[in-house]
Point group: C2
Chain length 162, copies 2
């Protein structure tokens, strides 16, 4: 019986060691998903819920382009808005919605590319249970800056879920 | 002795099960690093070594922007070239080099942003022992397409390593 206890202890030690091996993988995985920083919490009134922004490239008159890394926590979304020069979203993590005025909302997820037409009212954000991270590329900024409009109401957001 | 063998077998089974648990993490990690597909092997003469391209956004006259996901295997690099509208690199994985004509090469790595000035001769690629993946954003394409120049010689590449 003593032998069995000894063997049990040895195997449990080996088992614990084997399980610990998976921890660096998990850490690396999280790191891989966070290629670019989450940035700062957005505090302006153009968003509902909690969203984060890390500017990657600030607009200037040479590149005519601004690039931001945006993370929406579950339920968070932009207000309705439009871009005189259009915008391109590269979805790098999570699940959310993109909706143009007068059209049904589309589900967008990691790996998706969204081309937002010029001067078109739209919004984007996370699903109620998933976060959403995208790189937002605004080209043709010489045509003008983003125009912010009204809030996406809970009713509008709930319709997107259907 | 038979008992010890039985117990050994049971523990080995549990151990194997515990080790298998780490496999989905690893798979997820690789998946996280591959948000966008690696695409097709580049077969034209504008590159040295093995590189891969997945176009994410094709150029058009509305967005004036093209976006490609480029992966360089160790030692691979572009030829010298220039962009009339400039280019922005978002480095998403690995380690490599970026060099403008007449300047020393810079080491670039995961998380780095490179703003390549308009009409400026340059090259980029992987280090000799690491691969490099970047999203290449070409804005202002109404100013013209990429102009390909001469090969980055082994001598030029070896100088970058120093």
């Amino acid at each position: 019986m003593k032998n069995i206890l000894k063997i049990s202890l040895i195997f449990l030690t080996v088992l614990a060691g084997a399980c610990n091996k998976s921890q660096p993988d998990t850490a690396k995985q999280q790191n891989a998903e966070l290629v670019f920083p989450k940035g700062e919490k957005i505090t302006n009134a153009n968003f509902t819920g909690t969203a984060w922004l890390q500017m990657l490239v600030n607009n200037d008159s040479i590149y005519n382009t601004s690039i931001g890394n945006v993370t929406f926590e579950p339920g968070a979304r932009t207000n309705w808005h439009k871009h005189p020069g259009g915008q391109i979203l590269l979805v790098t993590d999570g699940i959310g919605y993109y909706q143009e005025k007068g059209k049904p909302a589309q589900v967008i997820r990691k790996g998706d590319i969204v081309k937002i037409p010029l001067n078109t009212e739209h919004w984007h954000g996370a699903s109620p249970v998933n976060s959403l991270t995208h790189i937002a590329i605004s080209p043709n900024t010489d045509k003008g800056s983003v125009v912010w409009l009204h809030v996406v109401t809970d009713e509008e957001y709930n319709q997107a879920k259907q």
